[in-house]
């Protein structure tokens, strides 16, 4: 099959923002964090993403402020480059090519023109050992510079964030394992301090993090067992001292001194930000229940803002250690997506399990987390080795009125706890409200569940390892005070076999339940209509065809078979030997997507059950198995004429790879997308029906009527630019209102120069009007028929013309 260049697999947002320590700018207005292959600039007050600094071709592994220019940052990446950015405008200033994958970056004010980066030892990429090297950045005007001047500082350091510069950059401290190493730049000497493994009384002495006091000779180190040690007098090899602080019960993940050195901040798995007073160490302040485990702490240079990164892909901005002022939340992917990827029919958001005990609603179009729904409603205890409730299943009914969730908790040596919860959508609060809780709905784990799509009946079917499937009905107790609640209506089974999957037909008139090798088809009145079987191999997934293909039932079995049964004849229509790992039906069309795993790679086939040839196929989509996939309906239908891309017209296919990357298919080429956005702007120009504009336009029209009709054409773009600037730029990047106001008022006035211009124009009126008339004609033709690319050209022509 020919590879289609037009359809590309693209990464979707939702990458980790807690990978490395975020950076707060000098004026505390922006927060920068590494997010996958780009650096994101967030506004610290509005939580909005202001810029997305793109340029790196691999994972960004560190960001630091440029000590010599407070409007610039350095970022390093595993692609072996260090890049210098202007974050206010989002411009790449310089690229320094180091040539080795970089894992961390450090700078110091006292070491101008030098950055310290962590690269693999022995200079090969597979090495497990890392070294800290100083890179002298060459002064050159070029955009891309090769930095070859490397000098090793420390050998054998940990690859991530376990080093810190001391007072005035005189020394650098790094920790790894049971060793603290301090390197003094003055005499180019390093001191090493070792701790015993110390297994008695549960002590684990291994270092986890380090931070140096900015004003005094003091190094704070965090340890596995929750202790914090403050090292002093470490410029002598023997007479060093340390004092111990202990509050954390788990490992200290991160430590940070405030810029003045008055406080020490620490965080760990407890999700409590602890603020130790440097001089009175028994005094501490706490900020509890911040969310997931704290992984990084960053402090703004003026000490007014703290920000903590959390393991649940979240950054919290804290004002002076008392108030959480903003939360930037990314898509939480964690160790595994237990719930399937589902689409909320109301908000069209992607729904999956996120924070422990929560479901997250993630907007795919805006790459933003909408909200978290607390499913478990229990206080989360941050402790390692504790069995917590996890949300394992979630399902929506077709209208989005009901949400069903299953949470379970496996406990060592005792029985499984399962709760089935049903949530009703509340119009007033625009959220889901708990309606019914069913404790122990089944005797064993629930494998799958689905809502009946039929509009007359609200029914949920759950299947479980205990060999039964249960149907739950919404019973209306209108005669009592309690209102509607759910209850079990039917319990079914088939020869005590374990069910594996269930699926409703598109109109809800049939339920198919796969019991190992046998597919049973049930009517809504719970009659077993027929059984279908194609041994050997247990049924793994079932899927009904839709629309014109609704007579087909597709099933995949463990013995690498994809079968299609015709439900009218109750016979096998076709089957093919492919190892389908995932079968997904598009809710808006007849199309089915089958992900097949073959020799460590995944292939995609898109087909209609009734047609012999696939619509589209792509080999080697990604490495490893595709874990989850979902069809998300598009906001507006695309009108693509290419045959093989038509399956993406109505909905978009998203999938999760083995490495938990969320990917999607994009049909349009890059230019296409750019054109679309430019077209969008053009439309805005011509329409601009904001009330503000209408008001101004009317006002100006009156003026124009008084002076001359031609002036309107010249003034209009000017005025609309001012309005556009005011209305379409995000409020937080606009200059101050006082500045804007004068500019805006000026734009309303007819300046003396423009008045003279109109005079000139009056002279050239016949030519000009002819030209504009022609433009309008051409434009009209274009918009009717021609391609967008041409229209851009025409746009250019028009611009030149003016």
């Amino acid at each position: 099959m020919v590879a289609h260049a037009e359809i590309r697999v693209v990464h979707l947002g939702g990458s980790k923002i807690n990978f490395r320590e975020p950076v707060i700018t000098n004026d505390s207005r922006f927060l920068l964090c590494a997010s996958g292959e780009s650096v994101k600039v967030y506004s610290s007050s509005s939580e909005e993403c202001v810029h997305d600094l793109q340029g790196h071709t691999d994972l960004v592994s560190g960001i630091v402020r440029n000590p010599s220019n407070h409007l610039q940052v350095y970022s390093c990446s595993a692609d072996g480059t260090v890049r210098l950015w202007d974050f206010t405008d989002g411009i790449l200033i310089k690229t320094f090519i180091i040539g080795y994958p970089i894992y961390s970056i450090y700078v110091s004010e006292n070491h101008g023109g030098v950055v310290f980066v962590v690269v693999p030892m022995a200079n090969d990429k597979s090495s497990e050992l890392f070294q800290l090297v100083a890179v002298h950045l060459p002064l050159s005007g070029d955009q891309e510079v090769e930095a070859r001047e490397l000098s090793a500082v420390l050998c054998d350091v940990s690859p991530s964030g376990a080093a810190s510069f001391g007072r005035k950059g005189e020394y650098i401290a790094a920790v790894k394992g049971l060793q603290l190493e301090v390197f003094f730049f003055k005499n180019q000497k390093s001191h090493r301090f070792f701790l015993k493994p110390g297994n008695k009384k549960g002590a684990k002495n291994a270092f986890t993090c380090v931070s140096c006091h900015p004003k005094e000779d003091c190094i704070a180190t965090g340890h596995e067992d929750g202790k914090i040690r403050l090292w002093r007098n470490f410029n002598q090899k023997k007479e060093y001292t340390y004092s111990t602080l202990h509050w954390h019960h788990g490992a200290v993940n991160t430590l940070q001194f405030t810029p003045e050195g008055t406080n020490l901040l620490s965080g760990g798995i407890e999700s409590v930000l602890v603020q130790w007073h440097y001089t009175q160490e028994n005094q501490k302040d706490f900020l509890p229940r911040l969310g997931g485990a704290i992984t990084h702490i960053a402090v703004s240079p003026d000490g007014s803002l703290f920000c903590t990164s959390h393991s649940d892909n979240k950054i919290t901005i804290i004002q002076s250690c008392v108030k959480v002022s903003a939360i930037i939340q990314g898509l939480v992917k964690g160790e595994g997506v237990r719930t399937d990827l589902t689409i909320d029919p109301r908000s069209k958001a992607l729904v999956l399990n996120g924070k422990p005990g929560h479901l997250q609603f993630y907007s795919l179009h805006r790459d933003k987390l909408l909200y978290n729904l607390d499913i478990v409603q229990q206080e989360y205890i941050h402790e390692e080795g504790l069995d917590q409730f996890e949300v394992v299943k979630a399902a929506f009914d077709t209208r989005g009125d009901w949400l069903a969730t299953v949470e379970e908790r496996t406990q060592k040596g005792s029985e499984l706890e399962i709760n089935l919860k049903l949530w009703a959508y509340d119009e007033q609060t625009q959220s889901f409200m708990l309606n019914t809780t069913v404790t122990a709905p089944h005797e064993d784990q629930i494998i799958a569940m689905c809502f009946s799509p039929s509009p007359e009946i609200t029914m949920l079917v759950t299947i479980s390892f205990d060999g039964h499937f249960k149907a739950w009905l919404l019973a209306d107790h209108s005669d009592t005070k309690e209102g509607a609640s759910w209850s079990c209506d039917f319990v079914g089974g088939y020869h005590h076999l374990k069910p594996g999957c269930c699926c409703f037909s598109a109109d809800g008139s049939l339920l198919a339940v796969g019991f190992q090798e046998v597919v049973t088809v049930w009517s809504p009145s719970w009659e077993l209509l027929t059984t279908l079987s194609q041994p050997p191999g247990a049924i793994r997934e079932l899927c009904f065809g839709r629309l014109s293909c609704s007579k087909y039932l597709l099933g995949t079995s463990t013995k690498n078979q994809l079968c299609c049964w015709n439900l009218l004849t109750c016979s096998l229509e076709w089957s093919t030997p492919v190892d389908v790992s995932l079968l997904q039906a598009d809710p808006l069309s007849e199309n089915m997507a089958a992900f097949c795993s073959q020799s460590g790679c995944s292939d995609l086939f898109v087909f209609k059950p009734g047609e012999p040839r696939p619509l589209y196929s792509q080999k080697a989509l990604c490495t490893g198995k595709v874990q989850r996939a979902v069809f998300a309906p598009r906001d507006q239908m695309l009108e693509s004429c290419e045959e093989h891309a038509q399956w993406l017209n109505r909905s978009q296919l998203y999938f999760l790879t083995q490495h938990m990357d969320l990917m999607t298919f994009s049909t349009k080429t890059e230019e296409d997308r750019l054109l679309a956005s430019s077209k969008l702007l053009m439309v805005d120009d011509s329409v601009a029906v904001t009330p503000f504009y209408l008001l101004l336009g009317k006002h100006r029209q009156q003026q124009e009527a008084l002076t001359n009709p031609m002036a309107e054409r010249i003034q209009l773009p000017q005025g609309s630019i001012a309005i556009k600037e005011l209305l379409y730029t995000p409020a937080h990047v606009l200059p101050s209102a006082s500045f804007l106001c004068s500019m805006f008022v000026r734009s309303l006035l007819i300046s003396s120069s423009s008045a003279s211009e109109t005079k000139v124009l009056q002279h050239t009126l016949p030519f000009k009007s002819l030209g504009s008339l022609r433009n309008v004609l051409v434009f009209h033709e274009m918009s009717c028929k021609m391609n967008r690319k041409y229209s851009q050209d025409v746009d250019k022509v028009i611009n030149n013309d003016f």
Binding site: S414, H477, D479, T480, L528
Partner: protein
């Protein structure tokens, strides 16, 4: 920064009947007043005239009671044998009654001596009634005949001898003076028209008929006999509409509620059942001490009067609205208005700048201790005696929460004799409760693990441990018995069901659900 999430106390579904408007309506009666009569109360009839006196026929007397009197207002004793079926005329002036001595007597309500005596039947008369024009009397007798009598002339008008057994019930139409219905022990119901020689309609109840009742619209007829209550459609020529079998002994009496929406049936099984007349489902049930022979409802359902075989007349009066309010007021002590409102009714002015105050959430004491990780204290709080006794679900929920945190063992450990015996008491009281068993079994195992070293040091604890052991053993035996019964039932079902390929079980009780 999220706030502390309090411990979730599960709400368990309330067992027993659901609260419906019907149960509220029919429970809204006071405790019954009981009056001892001389013999079994066979008939009760309310006068349609204002104070709504009622005539109670028992033994050889008919007593007339006022609506709230416990002493008879009037008594008719001129019967030679057992009296039956004392009935008021629709104007409340006359009363007719049958007698075992086959004589039918007509009384003036204010007088004492019978105004008229109708003789003609050869055996006891169990049924008497006035026709709708008030000038005739219908009687039904054990001599298998039913007759119509003229009151002014005291003569017999017609006699029908179509039944082949005792006639024990009958009623006249309130809309047509000529139509009446009788029910007999020959299992039939017959509709007669006085203008016609023969019965116009016959229905087979297939049980000896004890009571008949016409709907106010007279389109439907209800009959009771044996364990069955049957509803017939008269307009469709006597087609059976429904057959209800909710009693387990003979149904003796029928009545309609004042609005005609509910049907009441009384039976020898000591129950009165109330049906919804639209779907004929039982909506409520009354229990009485003895088998019921007669039942009557006062107009507007003001009182329910029931007569029983042991001669006890039970009268329930409806609660008046004032009394109801008094009850509610006593239960709820409300704070002083001034404190309760506390500026809550302040309406902000137009230019006021509103500053909302964060609402401080109130945490229960055990939640406050859980928040501070004071686990032993939290368990102590949850084990306080009133909470332990009155709301065991709270104690169990706190134990579950501690178990989830992995600290239940620590919280249970280190208790002295008094504390431990308290804890064991709670376990003995609740460990076999199916709602709490999963949590409490873990707790019990932990307690046994922790305190097995000190067994034998305290007699109180030892005694409790022995009791606990006995309890658990008994429960295990009980469960085993239940499983055996289940196995027997399964084999019975398997043999009775037609052999089919699939096994599906209807099951609505195995999973308990709750409504938050």
């Amino acid at each position: 920064m999220a706030s502390f999430k309090s411990t979730k106390i599960p709400i368990y579904p309330k067992l027993g009947e659901k609260v419906t408007p019907d149960t509220l309506y029919w429970k809204n009666y006071k405790a019954p007043v009981q009056i001892k009569e001389f013999g079994a109360v066979t008939s009760i009839d309310f006068s349609s005239l204002a104070p709504h006196n009622y005539a109670v026929t028992a033994s050889t007397r008919i007593h007339i009671y006022g609506p709230f009197s416990t002493e008879p207002v009037k008594t008719f004793t001129r019967f030679k044998d057992t009296a039956y079926s004392g009935k008021f005329r629709s104007d409340g002036q006359l009363l007719v009654a049958g007698c075992e001595d086959s004589v039918v007597r007509l009384f003036d309500v204010s007088g004492k001596v019978a105004l008229r005596v109708f003789k003609g039947h050869t055996k006891g008369v169990h049924v008497t009634d006035f026709t709708s024009d008030c000038y005739h009397i219908l009687t039904g007798s054990d001599d298998y005949t039913c007759r119509l009598w003229d009151i002014p002339n005291s003569t017999e008008l017609t006699s029908y001898k179509e039944h082949t057994d005792y006639i024990r019930c009958g009623t006249t139409s309130k809309l047509n003076r000529d139509i009446f219905i009788t029910g007999s022990y020959d299992h039939t119901l017959r509709v007669f028209d006085a203008r016609v020689e023969k019965s116009v309609m016959t229905m087979d109840h297939s049980q000896p008929v004890e009571s008949v009742l016409l709907y106010p619209s007279e389109g439907l007829l209800v009959s009771a006999g044996g364990r069955y209550v049957k509803v017939w459609d008269l307009l469709k020529g006597g087609q059976p509409l429904v057959s209800l079998k909710n009693h387990h002994k003979t149904v003796t009496c029928l009545s309609l509620s004042s609005n005609g929406q509910r049907l009441l049936s009384a039976s020898l099984d000591r129950h009165v059942k109330i049906y919804n007349t639209t779907n004929y489902k039982v909506v409520h049930n009354f229990d009485y001490a003895a088998s019921i022979l007669s039942l009557a409802l006062a107009p507007d359902d003001e009182s329910i009067v029931v007569g029983m075989t042991n001669g006890v007349l039970s009268i329930k009066h409806r609660k008046s609205p004032e009394e109801k309010r008094e009850m509610v007021g006593k239960q709820r002590m409300q704070p002083v208005y001034r404190i309760f409102v506390k500026g809550r009714n302040y309406v902000p002015k137009k230019d006021d700048f509103l500053v909302s105050k964060p609402v401080k959430s109130h945490l229960a004491k055990y939640d406050k201790q859980l928040k501070k990780f004071n686990i032993s204290k939290a368990l102590d709080t949850a084990l306080e005696s009133w909470r332990r006794n009155r709301k065991p679900e709270i104690t169990v929920a706190v134990m579950k929460e501690l178990d989830r945190r992995g600290t239940l063992k620590n919280a249970l450990a280190g208790r002295d004799e008094q504390n431990l015996s308290q804890l064991l008491n709670f376990l003995i009281g609740n460990v076999v409760d199916p709602r709490f068993t999963p949590v409490l079994v873990t707790a019990t195992e932990m307690i046994l693990d922790i305190y097995q070293a000190v067994v034998g040091q305290s007699s109180v604890v030892d005694r409790q441990l022995v009791r606990l052991q006995e309890l658990v053993e008994r429960e295990v035996d009980y469960q085993q018995d239940l499983l055996e019964v289940l196995g027997m039932l399964d084999t019975l079902f398997a043999t009775s069901l037609p052999r089919k390929e699939c096994f599906s079980v209807f099951d609505g009780t195995s999973s308990d659900f709750e409504n938050p």
